[in-house]
Symmetry: D3
Subunit: 309 residues, 6 copies
């Protein structure tokens, strides 16, 4: 198995069974380095559902992907064995059962010493990933792209919804808050609970203003994550709605895809143990640009993994 994508020069990109980046679809226990896996679950969203279709749609749009990164000057395919390992089992009716299946799936995967990138699903799917990764690697440093702090309290009597994973990850000791960073954050806010939490736990919150006031300085001031086990959770709503309209709870005034690319390229991460891209909602993405932005982010994340190796 050579883990090469189907060539667009031999087979047109609109043809063939759709896998991530046209890579081979293999069993979980194959000899790849990084497995890309779908987690089609959107039962945790508070407004627009539809992220359950994201893995399928992002597979489709990733047909346009190519492997050579202009500024990093390497081809991911030559650095890593990457595979599509299909979708993690999920249960649309029950978050609890979905969490159970995710636990089994990702703990097994990690036991095999695989890296993974999970394509959600809504942001409530990140918590089980952090639980599994933390169990394997110990406390993690989190790089969290989002419009929202995701430190909100329970809603409708439910502790686990798509705006709470950071709070739980801190409370469960899965991440080191003071060594973690949030990027793309902006208001409006609820104002008290959410902001108080990040302040209390000393999470480094950076807003769109921080990004734009002096971009090169912002890039230079990003922490160095060195060899610490690090997880990147990328909520597509960190991007502005003009770049990512197809998401559950869009917020105007967000990042551009270009800014996001530059930030991802500037990150100093030597040990990226896992990552996810969440909250892509295809039914609300008529021009398909949100899925396309997710494909681009997936490419950058793979590059970081290639450099981590």
């Amino acid at each position: 198995m050579d883990y090469k994508p189907l060539s667009g020069r031999e087979f047109p990109r609109f043809s063939g069974i759709k896998t991530f980046f046209r890579l081979p679809h293999v069993p979980v226990d194959s000899d790849y380095d990084v497995g890309i896996v779908g987690v089609p679950y959107d039962g945790g969203v508070s407004y627009r559902p539809g992220a359950r279709f994201a893995p399928s749609k992002i597979r489709e749009m990733s047909s346009l992907g190519r492997g050579y990164h202009w500024s990093r000057q390497f081809n991911i395919i030559e650095k890593l064995k990457i595979a599509d390992i299909g979708d993690c089992p999920t249960v649309p009716v029950s978050q609890e059962k979905t969490y159970e299946r995710m636990k089994v799936f990702f703990e097994s995967l990690l036991k095999l010493n695989k890296k993974f990138i999970s394509i959600g699903g809504d942001h409530s799917t990140t918590l089980p990933l952090l639980r599994a990764a933390s169990k394997k690697y110990g406390q993690l440093r989190l790089i969290h792209f989002d419009a929202h702090l995701d430190t909100y309290p329970a809603a409708w009597g439910c502790e686990y919804h798509h705006g709470t994973f950071v709070r739980h990850a801190v409370n469960e000791g899965l991440i080191i808050p003071e060594k973690s960073v949030q990027i793309g954050i902006r208001g409006p806010l609820a104002g008290n609970d959410d902001l108080n939490f990040v302040n209390k736990h000393k999470i480094m919150v950076t807003t769109v203003d921080d990004v734009r006031n002096n971009f090169s300085e912002f890039l230079n001031n990003l922490p160095d994550f060195g060899n610490d086990p690090t997880f990147i959770s990328y909520d597509i709503d960190c991007l502005d709605p003009s770049f990512a309209p197809g998401t559950g709870t869009p917020v105007p005034g967000g990042l551009t895809t270009y800014e996001s690319q530059k930030i991802l390229q500037a990150l100093k991460v030597k040990n990226l143990v896992g990552a996810d891209i969440v909250e892509v909602c295809p039914p609300f993405d008529p021009a398909e640009i949100t899925s396309l932005a997710a494909v681009d982010t997936l490419f950058e994340l793979l590059c970081i993994m290639a450099e981590s190796k």
Copy 2:
């Protein structure tokens, strides 16, 4: 309070706060006869989510509604005090909590001796309605419009999803299966469990073939429900996808809206204690005709209630 809709000749139909048929939005304990209520929950769907937006969208489209029925020759507004009583509380993350809130809401409503029409929501929302109505009125006769039998077994370890309410309603003794009827049913099927169940319980299943082989005979042969307490559950996917594309699990070869109108007009029901319209999924309804069909069905259901009185 006169329960008159806002007049389209004074206030254009595109203006104003959106309520069902432009009727007054009133508290549950007001002096209306029939309350139209939204149940925005879609956590039970197996494929496309989005029915949570149905109450809001159907309110909007019902702005086009008018009250005088051509063939029944009366105006519903003159026969009934109808009101929009808002939405029942629901919990997107949890079916269990949604069922609890629905139980509280609808039992309270029924204690006030109100009739209701519920605008779902996916078809898993019908079971709590039947539980509440059966508690009030005893075993019910069910008229069930659907493409599917909804007698499917548990899926993914979950007993309650959008394809199981008939099975549970029979097993819990909420309806009288041999005095109930299903309309619009068609294949393909899973084949064993689902069909065996209806056969075993002697539910009268009528298919699109039955409707089309001889329509006037079909209409004449519909059972007379007389004064028996009766519930109508109308899954919009009984209609063909050309008439109702915006639904969770569409099935080609379905009813036309005209056939549906004629069937609803032919029903002999003197005691309609409640009804619902489910599985309208606005994010997949680009031309808005599915919501429009729901508005039309809602009008017919209100007429049956007006004649029940």
Copy 3:
């Protein structure tokens, strides 16, 4: 000038400047027999605007048109000199000024002894057409395809909106009500004013029920319009929303395009002096089928004109 359409076998149908049926665009005073003319005005609609874009969109979709009619067994191009004579001037802000410009335009056209088919625009544009045609030909017999009676009273203090042209046409003596017919009508209704008017004036109202109870009988019982000067006003909402979603005020339970074709083919009209197609609303027609249905109707109307000659 040979009034031949651009051939699809030489120039692909997606190419070229868009005119109706790819026919020549000529000045009003050229030597054609029938002029197809746009009337892009939608200031009279009570709900969805957008019919102002109908002439442009229908020109585009008519690229797919071909000239030979299967059952009539002739090619319209060989029977008639047909031309696109552009759009009548209209004023979006003012119905009054639009009516003035229409009066000038159509009276001039009729002085040249031209037949015309007008592509609206909303249904308020029909009244000026009837005024001009009646001035030329005397009282007309009207064949009116619609979901609505269009005999509604003034709304918001305005006598002339898209639901009133029949009332005014009768009151102004432009048409002979008892020799006119309405087709495709259905409820719900406002109930009193509108229905009373048609009953009082003995307009022959036929509903979708009338069409469907016995279609061949319905076709046979249509009046013979003989050599009487006749006008056909075709509101696209006579069709069911599944066939014509893109319209201002859609009503479920309508005609199919096939039924409409058969009715148009069954009409006995020897002196069709003018016709229009109205209420096509492209912004609400995502699959373009409403415009396509309008193109098909336009073809049938041209055939009737060819046979009138």
Copy 4:
């Protein structure tokens, strides 16, 4: 009445009757401070109609709104009593009658000493607002966000259309041109009439180039409106079509939502007597981001009002 929005943590944001920011819908003469009111009229547009649906759509999208402003550091709900006061009566067929109804509505409102934010509607609806506000407060200073100067001459014989309100406001003495500012302006232009007018009357015109050449300087150089009675008219087409595609006459090369936010946050206005947001055209906004941008602007305008108090 506490003028609190329905909480998203208790009632999911997709549920409930849609009002602006989920605030109470109250009669005009209630004890709120600021009334948000819809003006659903689009009869003045020269190209795409549809703004009549903006109040309804913006109500829907404002369900996502939250009250705490990150940089201003307050919650609007704690500073102001804000209410949804429904829609002003309008007449789709007649601009004249719409102006009359607006005059009655807004003069009554102002007599009650209420502040208001009007959600249009096309830009021809701003003139009656300025007339009413000027009658109450005297000559106003105008802050006008737009791609267009809106000083165009009459078109099609009509003085009042969606590109003329500034000319009339100056000519009628409603605003003080040399103390007013236009933001977001860009070409192409007609060139003579429109530009000459603003030059002659010394309106401060700022273009996108002005904004981008040095943004912080631009923000610093904005006039101080102090306690002068000021009106903000926000045409959504000041934004680039990538941020606001759903508008009547979009112009490439416009502002980003982020720039718009920063400008609104930089404005020194102590006496904002009224404001409007116009030209949101939902039928041309498939990803709903234009309505979302309007919600965001509405939030900033409410903040300015909160600070004005």
Copy 5:
């Protein structure tokens, strides 16, 4: 290998790698009975392109498929080993090269004694299929569902486009015209070349009128294809645009999906050697109902193959 589809009760239908009916994706030389294969080529269309995306979209929509046929009373999965064998190589820029690759692919497939159903692609892809099948089985009887006769002459100097395959199939002796049938045909026509050809070669042409004048008689009068090697080519535009808007050249007045189902169920074919479904054009199918209709047709074709065996 058991050729069972992924169960929807274990893995939700929105999850997993998309294959036709969730069946295994296997190499061409595996031990299946019927291979479903995509032919993503649309270079032969005269109007709307996009059918290249049909295999991918139909795979996605076929997730909703189930195997038990209500009236045939069997489950295809229990009768046949069916597999997804991926896409045939195609060349978007060159019809000639596409034909070459199709020849190689399908001749190889047929050498293995496999049955196939091809999912096009535009209708120009049928000719190579008939060439390969005829080479294997001798002259074929053709059952051709279409709005068009597809006997058109060359266009733009090109013999092979999406409206010519029947002419070439007859001229090359691939099919027996007088033992073939066309279903769903309707006007308008070009009129001479196309109709003359079918008359001359005695192809049995049946129109929508033939279907509707007496449906049960029509079904009874369909020829018996017995054990003759038969090919079914199903152009989705045989359906009315309300059922199949997403196609290259839609024609109003077509079949319903129900009529199509009944015709497919009535066909007496004992030796179906191959079939295709063509002209599904996803970019023009906003509500996805065209792809859904294709899935339903694919199911019926598989059933005919199951009964052929």
Copy 6:
């Protein structure tokens, strides 16, 4: 013939036969200076087809165009006689025949000493334009806006597809590579063939990073093209997908329309002999902003031509 566009103040912009900028549609040999011509061909695309509809859609959107350029301070209509000369004949099924027809058309046009701007079509249509222009004017300097280098090798055995025109133009000696410039380029890349080619031939490649690192410097450092015969090929995918989603192969991280405007305004070109705009794909442009961006670019190109004169 005065080559004035139809005035929007007399005839609303939604009315009339659609031509580029509402200019006269004239025969090729009329006395205009610059002819705008459609080249509706998309047979060369590797992913999404649909650019064949671009000429028609861009004509429609150009109804919004106006002639006075704010910063250049002139009205193109007063400087140039510009006309719509219709569409060049193309053949959807055959690239070879399309190239032949383009050769005939554009060589004839150039013999008449006309300037032209071609509205494609996919990027494979640029090569025949360069061949014709080079034959007339000798070797050209190329200004190439694109996300892609378009120096890719043959694909699927085809030398000419939409990613190869630069390679062929260099190899055929049509352009002077070391005096040409590429703008908007970005990764990901295939990496070897494409980048090696531009390096080897010393084409000046500028990326989005180059544009953004210091924009005013970038603008100042653009080469001076003086009186050298120059051709501008503008692939709309140079823009970011948020500004131009409707294109064949979109790439995130692209230019904004504002940046594109400023670059086009900064170009020092005194002898622009021809230009094209390609890869606008209307079926994937639901909000029509891609076509709108094309109209804006067309306006800038016309301005450059006006200044070239």
